[in-house]
C-alpha cells in the first residue's frame, strides 16, 4: 500500500535526522544524548527484529541487547557523514545472520533478509524478557574488568572516584571498562 509506505518512510526520515544528531552528540561524550539514542535504537531494533525473527520470538530481546552492546563497542566505526540507518541496519543484519547461521547451520546461509534499510520505520518500547542473564555474565569477568564496570557504569561513580576506591590508575579503570564490555560482547556471541 503506497500510503503506508510513504508514511513509514517519512517517519523513518524524521527518525534518521533526529537520531543521527543525538548519536553524534553521544559520540562526543554527551551522556544524556547517548542514553536517549540508545533507547530509541533499542525500540527500533525490537520492532525490526520481531518482524524478522517471527519464528523465534524468545530471541528478540537477547538480540536487541547483542546489537546494543555491539554498537557501543564498535561506535568508532560510524562515519559522521554516513546515514545512521545504514550503519545500524548493517550491524543488525550481521547479528541476525550470525544468529540464524548458528541456529540452523546450512539453512542460515541463504540470506533471508531484505536490503530495504527499514530499521527506523517502526519502533516498540515494550521490552520482552531477555532470556540470557547479562548480569550473570558480568559476574564471570575478571575483577580488574568487572569492578570498574560495576563502579563506573552501574553505580555511576566517575573514573577518578572508581580509581581511588579500587586502588587502580585511571587509565587502568578505563582499559578495564573497555576490555570488559568487549569481553561481554564476545561471551554473548558464544552463547547465542
Amino acid at each position: 500500500m503506497p500510503r503506508t509506505n510513504e508514511a513509514g518512510s517519512s517517519v523513518a526520515a524524521d527518525a534518521e535526522t533526529r537520531l543521527r544528531a543525538l548519536f553524534l552528540r553521544g559520540l562526543a561524550g554527551e551522556e544524556a544524548a547517548y542514553r536517549a539514542v540508545l533507547q530509541a535504537l533499542a525500540a527500533h531494533l525490537r520492532a525490526y527484529l520481531r518482524r524478522r525473527l517471527f519464528g523465534w520470538p524468545d530471541d528478540v530481546e537477547d538480540l536487541v541487547q547483542d546489537c546494543l552492546l555491539a554498537m557501543h563497542n564498535k561506535r568508532h566505526t560510524y562515519q559522521s557523514d554516513q546515514p545512521l540507518t545504514a550503519w545500524v541496519h548493517a550491524i543488525a543484519r550481521y547479528k541476525v545472520i550470525d544468529l540464524l547461521r548458528a541456529k540452523s547451520g546450512r539453512e542460515g546461509l541463504h540470506d533471508p533478509l531484505d536490503d530495504d534499510l527499514a530499521v527506523f520505520a517502526e519502533s516498540s518500547t515494550e521490552a520482552g524478557d531477555a532470556r540470557r542473564d547479562l548480569a550473570g555474565l558480568l559476574e564471570t569477568l575478571p575483577e580488574r574488568q568487572r569492578l570498574p564496570i560495576v563502579h563506573v557504569k552501574l553505580q555511576g561513580l566517575s573514573v577518578t572516584e572508581a580509581a581511588a576506591r579500587l586502588n587502580m590508575s585511571e587509565s587502568a579503570v578505563k582499559v578495564g571498562i573497555h576490555r570488559g564490555l568487549k569481553a561481554l560482547a564476545r561471551r554473548v556471541g558464544v552463547l547465542s
Binding site: 553521544g26 542514553r35 536487541v64 555491539a70 554516513q82 546515514p83 521490552a127 560482547a185
Partner: protein, 213 residues
C-alpha cells in the same frame, strides 16, 4: 539484565570517540606488516645486487608500481568494508580494472614478441620462487591487517578477508619487486597476479573465522 539497565550501563560516562580512528588503525597495521615483510625480505632474500642499474629500467618500476597501486586501492576498499553499512563496490571494481589493465599490456607485449621468445616471457626463470616468496612476504602484512580489522566491524567477512588478502599479497609483491630479477610484463601478469589471488582466496576462507565479532 533488562535492556534498560544495559542501556544505562553503556550510556553512563561514555568516552568521547576520536574521528578517523578506523582508517588510522588500518594504516598503522598495514605499515607495521609491511615493515616486517621488508625486513624479512632483506634478511632472507636480499635486494637484487644490480639494483642501481635496475632502477633505470621501466620493467623494475612496473613491478613496483602495479602492486603498489593495487595495494592502495585495496586499502581504500578495506577501510570501507571495515565499517558497517559502507559500500565498497567502486574500490573492488578499481582493483579488478588494475588487473585487467596489466593483462591488456601483458597480452600486447606477448603478442608483439617473436613466437620463440614468448614462452620465456611468461615462465621466466624464477616463477616458483617468485610465487612462493610473494605469498610468504604477504603473511606478516595479512596478520597485521587482520589484527587491525578485528578492532573494526566488517559485516561481510569473506569479502573483507579476501580484500585483506589481496592488499597483503599486493604489498608482498611490491616488496618482492626489489629482489625479483624478472623483466617481462607477461611474467608479472601471470605469477604476481596468481600469488596475490592465492592470498586473496586464503583471506576469504580465513576471514570467515578470524573476523567474527
Amino acid at each position: 539484565m533488562k535492556t534498560d539497565d544495559l542501556i544505562a550501563m553503556l550510556a553512563s560516562d561514555p568516552a568521547p570517540v576520536a574521528r578517523g580512528a578506523p582508517s588510522k588503525r588500518l594504516a598503522l597495521g598495514l605499515l607495521a606488516g609491511a615493515v616486517l615483510a621488508a625486513l624479512a625480505m632483506q634478511l632472507t632474500l636480499g635486494v637484487r645486487p644490480d639494483i642501481a642499474q635496475a632502477i633505470l629500467q621501466p620493467g623494475f618500476w612496473g613491478k613496483l608500481i602495479f602492486p603498489a597501486l593495487l595495494a592502495g586501492a585495496g586499502f581504500v576498499t578495506l577501510a570501507l568494508l571495515a565499517r558497517p553499512g559502507m559500500r565498497a563496490r567502486a574500490g573492488e571494481v578499481a582493483m579488478l580494472l588494475l588487473v585487467a589493465g596489466l593483462w591488456a599490456m601483458a597480452v600486447s607485449a606477448w603478442a608483439g614478441a617473436a613466437p620463440p621468445d614468448r614462452a620465456a616471457m611468461v615462465w621466466g626463470t624464477t616463477w616458483r620462487a617468485c610465487t612462493l616468496n610473494i605469498v610468504l612476504l604477504s603473511v606478516p602484512v595479512f596478520a597485521a591487517t587482520v589484527l587491525a580489522l578485528r578492532q573494526l566491524a566488517p559485516t561481510r567477512l569473506a569479502e573483507a578477508g579476501a580484500c585483506a588478502g589481496a592488499l597483503s599479497g599486493a604489498a608482498g609483491a611490491a616488496i618482492y619487486a626489489f629482489h625479483c630479477p624478472e623483466t617481462g610484463l607477461p611474467f608479472m601478469a601471470v605469477w604476481y597476479v596468481a600469488a596475490i589471488a592465492l592470498v586473496a582466496g586464503l583471506g576469504a576462507v580465513l576471514g570467515r573465522r578470524l573476523l567474527r565479532w
